[in-house]
């Protein structure tokens, strides 16, 4: 097996990794209209990670969003609590908005999380899908792309080099700077967050960075094109796509039947999208989510196993990451989903994707 893939903590011989991510949204339950406190929500997320760890799930990540109806703005702090509360699961951001952060501070935080967790930390760096945080944190949205590229490069440089010499446009220069502490294995996996568009995937390929691709719904075949474009872009810059891991992330909900899964999840997605995005999720689109060729993983455990295997065949990806908790889903439902993942879905997808 190639070394670079292993450097990113991926061992394809073990089969596809299964992860869970949360945006840290803090929305009312649309059925009861009640919203738990931010304190409860943060503890819920920590408990959610603990359950995922106990179920043998590979990966858990928490996002950074600075708008209303979110609770994990300080996602690195939440992740450090998760690092302390868990044993084996890999922990990451999803994503860290590197554009509006100082890469030095981000690296210090995540290297520390890596030490607390004894080598389990990763960073997924993104550029924000919403732009309110540019005002909040004192950046100009017109520098959107330049900020991301410069800071993403610096973050990776800090990861690779113990003594950093660097100068750029958006941060004071670094002269023989030692960014400490160093993570347990010398470096940590740094992924590039992509929102599902080809243009963004191509840029991740040019950078030769592992890609964390989030998607809503639609045919899986459409995202195959995006992943192919990423690999082709990487190849064009001299990187070997076989050494670059790909993760996909999207809506997931398992229940006894696909009808039950749709029924359980729809109000949360629809109301959650309305509040955070200004438009609901059309029922017609959501109903298509149970189709075996739709990229949303909604259905019975057996249907989801088949979907993930189909996607794996199409994408050749190394990690799938499920978003289950969006829109005030009650905790007992999250528990039930983790139970189904741990007992039925995870063993099956590992069995069929592990290389013997």
């Amino acid at each position: 097996m190639n070394n670079l893939m292993e450097k990113y903590g991926i061992n394809p011989r073990d089969g596809i990794e299964f992860g869970i991510y949360t945006l840290g949204d803090h929305l009312p339950n649309p059925i009861t209209g009640e919203r738990i406190s931010a304190e409860e929500r943060i503890h819920e997320i920590i408990d959610y990670a603990k359950l995922a760890d106990q179920a043998g799930i590979d990966f858990f990540s928490v996002g950074e969003s600075h708008q209303e109806y979110f609770a994990t703005q300080a996602h690195a702090v939440v992740l450090s609590a998760i690092a302390q509360a868990t044993e084996n699961i890999k922990i990451a951001s999803s994503s860290t908005i590197i554009s509006t952060s100082d890469p030095v501070r981000v690296y210090e935080n995540f290297a520390t999380i890596d030490l607390i967790s004894k080598g389990r930390a990763e960073i997924v760096a993104g550029r924000a899908s919403r732009i309110g945080l540019f005002d909040l944190l004192g950046y100009d949205v017109r520098d959107y792309e330049a900020l991301f590229e410069e800071k993403f490069d610096l973050l990776r440089k800090i990861n690779e080099e113990e003594v950093v010499n660097w100068s750029g446009e958006f941060r004071a220069p670094l002269k023989n700077a030692k960014v400490l502490p160093r993570p347990r294995n010398g470096s940590i996996p740094i992924w590039r967050a992509v929102g599902g568009t080809r243009a963004s995937a191509i840029k991740a390929g040019f950078a030769g960075a592992p890609m964390f691709m989030a998607h809503l719904g639609g045919p899986a075949s459409m995202f195959k094109g995006t992943i192919e474009a990423y690999r082709e872009a990487a190849r064009s810059k001299g990187f070997d796509p076989a050494e670059l891991p790909v993760a996909t992330a999207g809506f997931f909900y398992a229940a006894e039947t696909s009808q039950q899964a749709l029924k359980d999840m729809y109000p949360h997605i629809n109301e959650g999208m309305k509040r955070t995005n200004g438009q609901g999720f059309p029922k017609q689109h959501f109903a298509q989510g149970i189709d075996p060729h739709n990229v949303m993983n909604i259905g019975s455990p057996q249907e989801i196993i088949e979907k993930i295997l189909y996607q794996h065949e199409l994408f050749g990806h190394q990690r799938y990451i499920a978003q289950i908790d969006f829109g005030g889903v009650p905790f007992d439902r999250l528990q039930k989903n983790i139970e189904l993942i741990g007992t039925e879905i995870l063993p099956a997808i590992k069995k069929y994707t592990a290389k013997k």
Partner: protein, 188 residues
């Protein structure tokens, strides 16, 4: 049913005059509808900077949110330089790509010349289709000579406005009913 009458220009008076007749007709024929007139001449709307429509404040936020909450939108537009005015295009740019999904949009067009008749067909309708509007296909086209001192003086225009109002409401009711029936078929 929430209807927005959007008068799309800061220049001149013909579009607003035509919109006033339209809203009056709407109020008379369908008193149960809730109608809001947004005349862009009366609002200080900023240019789109790419943010989500909910994140705009002041007049811009009011305009985007009122449009997004509407069931139907009657767009009134003049034709400038053989196109729609920038003020109107900016409204589209402020909204999400599928902003008009599950909404009916109808149009009335004022112009200085009959030569502009197909502008709405060729430039406005493709935008509305892209943004997923259900359109009232026939629009009302009103020329300079139909106005006199901020009044419409051509009876035929009244008839056409009346039909536009009817078609807008009837289509909105129809699509709402179709959608409700369709959604009821899903048992979730």
């Amino acid at each position: 049913m929430k209807i927005v009458g959007l008068s799309g220009s800061k220049v001149g008076s013909k579009t607003r005059t035509a919109m006033n007749y339209t809203v009056k007709s709407l109020a008379e024929k369908y008193p149960d509808t809730e109608v809001t007139v947004i005349d862009l001449a009366e609002y200080d709307v900023q240019f789109s900077d790419g943010r989500n429509y909910m994140e705009y404040e002041g007049d811009t936020g009011f305009v985007t949110q009122t449009i997004m909450e509407a069931d139907a939108i009657i767009i009134g537009t003049p034709i400038f330089q053989a196109s729609i005015p920038a003020t109107l295009k900016n409204i589209f740019d402020l909204l999400p790509v599928d902003a008009f999904r599950d909404k009916v949009v109808s149009m009335l067009v004022t112009a200085g010349s009959a030569k502009h008749y197909l502008i709405a067909e060729q430039q406005l309708k493709p935008i509305l289709a892209y943004m997923k509007a259900q359109m009232v296909q026939t629009y009302v086209f009103i020329e300079e000579e139909d106005f006199y001192r901020k009044e419409i003086i051509n009876d035929d225009v009244f008839f056409r406005i009346e039909r536009l109002v009817e078609d807008t409401v009837v289509l909105t009711e129809t699509f709402t009913k179709i959608r409700e029936e369709k959604e009821a078929q899903y048992d979730f």
